[in-house]
């Protein structure tokens, strides 16, 4: 990753805020970090106002550490909790209108391809279950039908968290929420299956219990989108506020859900599989050489 992107102009070093200087000196710029090095480098995402113990915030933390090409990535978010952290990172962020993310990302990715034909530019949408599977459902689906080459990540907390607890299409059947007191009458949408049928070339469902696996899935989804078409990650990211999970038990809850309805699932087309195996083989070789 290029250091040029963040270099401080000579003479200005002592006027820059500490967080910025740390980012230049100890950040991801100029090197490729491994997610297992978290806590030993300055992360791209800064302090943010998401709630204590929020595992959507955790997922976003791992997301930034996993990015294969942060200085040439644009993140697209929208109304909902995730943007509270997405907007505090040293990676360009665009706020799409609620429901519009995948339409904006389609245009953006196409424009970047025309403007920078010789460069890889990654576009990643991160939005909530409400944003992608309810209000933005049409835009999400049509971006997949059209085969747009970017990654969509649904941070699914199974509720409209940011607006105080309305049910979404992703809330489980029977669940009672603050603003859905009668209990949900319909099944949770099978987003992963929809994505597969709608034309995604790489699809994964994951509960955030293993940072290495989260990073792997994110990198695979981004790599596959560069060459082949839309990719989709369905991540369980609990809302401890609306689901009244004691914060100390947030990871325990993620582990329990992983055993039930959030079992790890990954699917890709044969050509994506071949392509990813090649990339991962090269990455391993490079890492081996660096150790030597």
């Amino acid at each position: 990753m290029g250091l040029e992107y963040v270099r401080i102009s000579p003479g200005f070093e002592r006027y820059m805020p500490r967080d910025y200087v740390d980012l230049v000196k100890f950040g991801q710029f100029g090197k490729q970090v491994d997610v297992m090095q978290l806590g030993q480098f300055k992360e791209l995402v800064e302090e943010h106002p998401m709630c204590a113990g929020c595992y959507m915030a955790y997922f976003i933390r791992v997301f930034y550490a996993a990015l294969p090409n942060p200085e040439d990535t644009i993140v697209l978010g929208t109304a909902g909790c995730a943007r509270l952290a997405l907007s505090q990172a040293a990676v360009p962020f665009i706020y799409g209108n609620y429901g519009d993310t995948n339409a904006v990302a389609s245009g953006l990715k196409r424009a970047l391809t025309i403007r920078f034909p010789d460069k890889v530019k990654d576009v990643v949408v991160i939005a909530g279950d409400g944003g992608l599977m309810d209000i933005g459902f049409g835009m999400t689906m049509h971006s997949w039908f059209r085969g747009e080459k970017f990654t969509t990540i649904m941070v699914d907390n199974e509720v409209y968290g940011n607006t105080g607890g309305q049910e979404s299409g992703m809330s489980p059947k029977g669940v009672q929420l603050k603003m859905a007191p009668l209990g949900k009458k319909f099944d949770k949408i099978n987003a992963v299956e929809l994505a597969q049928v709608a034309g995604c070339v790489y699809v994964a469902r994951i509960s955030p219990t293993n940072p290495k696996r989260i990073a792997k899935v994110i990198r695979r989804a981004i790599y596959a989108a560069r060459e082949f078409g839309p990719t989709f990650i369905h991540a369980y990211t609990s809302c401890n506020i609306e689901y009244s999970i004691p914060t100390r038990e947030v990871l325990k809850d993620a582990r329990e859900r992983e055993k039930k309805d959030f079992k790890f699932y990954e699917w890709m087309t044969d050509e994506v599989k071949e392509y990813l195996e090649e990339i991962e083989r090269k990455e391993k070789e490079k890492a081996k050489q660096e150790v030597k």
């Binding site: 978290l38 806590g39 030993q40 302090e47 709630c51 204590a52 595992y55 933390r61 100390r248 947030v250």
Partner: protein
């Protein structure tokens, strides 16, 4: 006044571990010192969720993290 996590660095250093660092939701809040082989908390960034205590005490039975009260001026 609010609670933040505090690592007992002497205890933690015995394990060559780092697991809590990998599960804290906050960026650069729980960090890791390679030199001392220990996790440490940047108190200003800690929101007191205790996920690290779950990892260290409930999962790993290592009991190296304690929640402590910060007061104004700390």
């Amino acid at each position: 006044m609010y609670f933040v996590a505090e690592v007992n660095e002497k205890e933690c250093a015995k394990y060559n571990c780092k697991q809590c660092v990998l599960f804290c939701p906050e960026p650069n809040c729980l960090n890791y010192k390679e030199s001392g082989h220990t996790a440490w908390v940047w108190y200003d960034r800690c929101k007191g969720c205790e996920i690290c205590v779950y990892v260290c005490s409930d999962l790993l039975k290592r009991h190296c993290i304690e929640m402590v009260m910060v007061k104004s001026g700390d």
